[in-house]
């Protein structure tokens, strides 16, 4: 009974690293060691990089949202003028006056929306109306709260709903509204709106409002934004809409519904009698995957940003995005975390900055840092490949080392400079292939290249097989697009590649003219190609491939085919040359962050696993020597709950409480050294046992059952 295997749980994560501190300020960087100069520098670099990320992401967000926000503002502007201008027309007198409503579909990444709404309300504030209200569902559990929220945001001071509510009524002395008890109702709002708009129209020059209202015309609309429509209770929403529709003639409301799922939700939440008060127009924002693609483009697939993620860490961030939350904001937060971790844990991250700064900093490396460099695995590998006397020099001469480090850093920069354009070219050529062997998105290709030598993968081979069969015009458009990208790239290598591609394009075009003369010669091989283009499923494709191979054996290659082969071989060549995984490069540790485990632990926490680890191996959290587990035996010194937990692992679905108690008693009394056959279970032990069991129940490993008396049930997910 007393011996049992401990390792029944499954361990997903390696033991955490020792440092678990989360940095909050530069102080954390400094008080570490004496080398405060370098840590200060690291902290500053970190800060400036983060600032760069922030600026970049903000501008991306702004740019992406620009279209949709502008059209929303336009909607708000036109719908008010539209409804007002025609009030004397017959149609407008007869039709029911609906509230103009924009259904804004934003996608399920709710955490990203706040930013959008903030931009939206700023924009509306600037160009349409001073009266913008944003409502969060969590603030509006009832109609009363909703109305209160609206009044509060519009009229700008607090109103208590019930007179004797907790807080003392603040004096309503702002903006000269008479100190009268304010009722929290739309009628109050109506009065207020009339006074405010009349003030601005009439002759009261002393009012500050006047100037602000002036540019918005006579009756600026009141825009109410429901940020998360799905979370509102439909009753509140319905009643609010009905009330507003009763006042629509006095108060020009405009609603904006922030919808996370689909526009059909509006009809699911609102019955016809309510939705008939709305005039709903649909606005669809950009999908979050597109947003991510832009962020990746600007922050990760670029040389302008020295910090890099290695394959595993990027995979962690991407999988959280794709599998769990679709949130670009969280992705950026993850990036920020890796940035911080990198600069905090990697002393050599001082060198993670742009080329010139890096070589300057490399010149002034301290001897300690030089030692750090020597200990980098990638640098050690580099040293091993050198001549013996060079090796000695590298390991002993700091000055020489610094020279070499500068050189290596330059190489690293050069590598990146070539890597991204080539990656993009490869992506362009392969992203239109059937079945996307190298991925549809560039991020997939990028992670592939980071992980291993792409050209050794099956996917790459099949992709190139397909490329070698591509029709001419497709190939040409692909090459032309590549050329476009390469023009942005700078440097000798890229220019060479560009020239080479240009000659290929030229040759292809010349071929065009020739092949016009020899049409009959070409006719035969274009027909299987056309067939190939239509095919989408892989099986057929492979069959055609085989057939064509057969054909080729018999037939001599046409000029086009030769050229195509040559071109594709060239692409293959540059891929092999430039898309090397960064791990092969010396000093890659300086810019690449690689602790995917830490990142995952922080971003994708597994509470269940943590509890199980704690119960199985309390030493991990309670560093007490006596708790160090010795070969799976249940230590009697462990906390009671651990003992109870380990004992319960041996039981079936139902656990007899008395047996459990006995076993518990045996284990516990082992400490006292008296190994009598039947351990005495005194009151204290009994109480300890009861407490341990109820704690286990609380964390969800057992639960009381009615199936059998004196038994508890193990839970399914307890063992997971």
């Amino acid at each position: 009974m007393t011996t049992s295997s401990v390792s029944k749980g499954c361990f997903v994560f390696k033991p955490a690293s020792k440092k678990q501190r989360i940095l909050s300020a530069g102080d954390y960087f400094h008080d570490e060691d004496e080398e405060s100069a370098s840590s200060k520098l690291r902290f500053e670099t970190l800060q400036s990089l983060w600032q760069q990320i922030k600026l970049e992401t903000d501008s991306i967000q702004e740019e992406l949202n620009k279209n949709i926000l502008d059209s929303l503002a336009e909607f708000a502007r036109t719908s008010t003028t539209f409804f007002r201008s025609k009030t004397d027309e017959w149609t407008f007198r007869m039709r029911s006056s609906e509230i103009p409503t924009a259904a804004l579909v934003l996608g399920v990444n709710v955490t990203d929306h706040n930013m959008t709404f903030q931009n939206l309300s700023e924009l509306l504030h600037q160009s349409v109306t001073p009266y913008v209200v944003g409502l969060d569902a969590k603030d509006c559990p009832s109609l009363k709260h909703t109305v209160q929220k609206v009044l509060l945001q519009l009229m700008g001071y607090h109103l208590s709903v019930e007179e004797d509510e907790e807080e003392p009524q603040p004096k309503a002395n702002i903006s000269g509204i008479p100190k009268k008890r304010i009722q929290c109702s739309i009628a109050t709002l109506c009065e207020w709106y009339q006074t405010v708009t009349k003030d601005s129209n009439g002759l009261s020059p002393s009012k500050k409002r006047k100037s602000t209202l002036g540019k918005f015309g006579q009756n600026p609309p009141i825009v109410v934004i429901f940020k998360d429509l799905e979370s509102f209770t439909s009753k509140v929403l319905q009643e609010f809409i009905i009330i507003c529709s009763q006042y629509i003639h006095q108060l020009p409301f405009i609603f904006i519904f922030g919808i996370a799922t689909s526009p059909a939700t509006v009809h699911r939440m609102l019955p016809h009698s309510v939705s008939s008060h709305l005039c709903i127009e649909l606005f669809q924002s950009l999908s979050c995957t597109k947003h991510l693609a832009t962020v990746m483009d600007k922050l990760i697939l670029t040389t302008s940003f020295p910090f890099k993620l290695n394959g595993k860490t990027l995979q962690v961030l991407l999988s959280i995005f794709l599998f769990h939350d679709f949130s670009v904001r969280n992705f950026i937060k993850g990036l920020q975390l890796s940035l911080m971790e990198h600069f905090y844990n990697q002393p050599l991250s001082v060198l993670c900055c742009d080329k010139h700064k890096a070589s300057k900093r490399a010149q002034v490396l301290s001897s300690e840092e030089c030692e750090n460099v020597r200990q980098l695995p990638s640098f050690m590998r580099y040293v091993e490949n050198q001549e013996p006397d060079e090796q000695v020099k590298l390991l002993t001469d700091d000055h020489h080392l610094k020279e070499v480090v500068q050189q290596l850093l330059k190489q690293l920069h050069l590598y990146h400079k070539n890597y991204y354009p080539v990656l993009r070219c490869l992506h362009i050529l392969t992203s239109s292939l059937p079945k996307y062997p190298l991925g549809k998105q560039i991020r997939e290709l990028h992670s592939m290249c980071l992980e291993r030598n792409v050209w050794e993968t099956e996917e790459y081979k099949s992709a190139f097989q397909l490329l070698r069969l591509m029709a001419k015009d497709e190939l040409l458009t692909g090459f032309n697009k590549c050329l476009e990208i390469l023009t942005y790239g700078k440097g000798k290598v890229i220019n060479e590649v560009q020239e080479k591609l240009e000659t290929f394009v030229k040759l292809f075009q010349e071929l065009d003219n020739i092949s016009l003369d020899y049409k009959e010669d070409d006719g035969e091989d274009t027909s299987p190609q056309k067939g190939f283009q239509q095919k989408t499923d892989l099986f057929h494709l492979q069959k055609t491939l085989l057939e064509m191979k057969e054909l080729k054996k018999n037939k001599k290659l046409t000029k086009f085919e030769m050229l195509r082969l040559e071109a594709i071989d060239f692409i293959d060549h540059i891929v092999k040359k430039h898309l090397l995984p960064p791990e092969y490069l010396a000093l890659h540790e300086v810019v690449y962050y690689s602790c995917s485990g830490t990142l995952r632990k922080h971003l994708n926490a597994a509470p269940r696993t943590a509890i199980q680890t704690a119960l199985n191996n309390p030493y991990k959290y309670l560093p007490n020597e006596s708790l160090q587990s010795d070969g799976g035996a249940i230590s009697s010194t462990a906390p009671d709950i651990c003992i109870a937990y380990k004992l319960h692992l041996e039981c079936g679905r139902l656990i007899n409480l008395y047996d459990w108690l006995e076993a518990f008693g045996t284990v516990v009394s082992a400490t006292e050294g008296n190994d009598t056959e039947s351990p005495v279970i005194d009151d204290v032990k009994h109480a300890r046992f009861i407490r341990a069991v109820s704690e286990l129940e609380f964390v969800g490993f057992v639960k009381p059952t009615k199936k059998k008396t004196d038994h508890v049930a193990r839970l399914t997910w307890g063992g997971c």
Binding site: S79, W90, T91, F92, M94, R95, S96, T101, A103, V105, G107, V108, S142, V161, E162, E163, Q183, S185, A187, D228, E230, S231, E239, I242, I243, Q246, A260, T261, S262, P263, A264, T265, H267, R268, H272, S273, S275, S276, C279, I280, E281, L282, S287, C288, T289, I320, L322, H324, D325, F326, N604, A605, A606, P607, T609, G700, L715, T716, W717, C720
Partner: protein
Amino acid sequence: MPDQTPFPTYMKDVLLRLKKQLPCRDNEVSMLLSLFGEPQHYSYPSILIYGHRATGKTFVTQTVLQELKLPHAFVSMVECFTPRLLFQQILSQLSSLYPSLDEEFHCETLNDFIRIFRQLSTSNVLDQQTVYIVIDQAEVLRDMDANLLPGFLRLQELVGGNITVIFLTEIVWEKFRPNTGCLEPILFYFPDYTKAELQQILCKDRHPEFSDDLYATYINILLGVFYAVCRDLCELRHLAALNFSKFCEPLLKGEVRESDTHKLWRSIEPHLRKAMQTVYLREVSSLQWEMMQDTKEETGYLKGLSAYTHVDLPYYSKFLLIAAYLASFNPARTDKRFFLKHHGKMKKVTFLKKHEKTSNHLLGPKPFPLDRLLAIFYSIVDSRVASTANIFSQISSLVTLQLLTLVGHSDQLDSPKYKCTVSMDFICAIARTVNFDIVRYLYDFL
């Protein structure tokens, strides 16, 4: 009740004007008048007027009270979400009648309200005229403090003054009656308008530039299409306004003469049918509809709101939703068969003996505990997934997106229960995106 009671106190012309303003409601108006009696007489303490939407309850009551210049207060209950608001609305509307009413009245409870009212009625400014308090959307009262409805029903008695309370509602009295008993109001039903009556009322707001006959023809066609689905006067009026320009189009172009009703009908009828499926259902907004008419895009297909059902979810959320759907629509005892690798070849015949013949899809989703959801989730998702906090937060975000609902008390910590609220079509579309053949896992489709 005498049918043609001459109401001596009211001037003839007032009655005539009422009749003109309220066509097709003669019976109701005269009934109201006879219930009201003479201004100084006590009327019945409470009257409950009920009838469907847009049968003119509000309109008739308000018009009658205004035309006869009877002292009254008119409150709409949806606005008054606290009793205090209700009392203050009533009092502030009456304050013009009672100069003695202090602006700064304090009125929190029904008690205060009655006390204030008592003081007012002793002041005797109105020569004991009946004061009417109209409470529109009175059904809201049922959800408010329990003493409000009975209190208002016998307000006359409580105040001891000449007061009548009129309730307007769409709900029958049986659904109101508190189980503690109360004073029964006089019930008064406003019947739906018949097709002919609708025609008559709608014809009243003719377009000024067109003849009566033409407009009547138009309304006739309109009712022919819409009467089967909609008898709501406001809605019909709205639809009439939206489509009239289209109706006039051939006339203005000179293609059709006014008298050629058949041709007019032929040109507008398909258009109205289309309107029934789009604007009427608010699938397409009225502005878009008009825009479409203006641009004359005959075939311009406008996608309705409900046509956009696609929801893009994170990968695991899709599987969680699928698992929830399976848990909602499969009986729990069949889980073994679907999700265990070696379910021991349960005899299909015995297994399929569905003692409940009805399809689970007809019965709707059933609640399931979190454990079951996770068990199914882990068995259908193909890769090994750690049970991380993210998975749990995904479940709760599915709840906020209203794709799942939490059943029972939300404060249940240990075993919350959920229901999956998405439709079969929706889940099939989701399952297709992750290459999961959901139909194979559904008990109903075995």
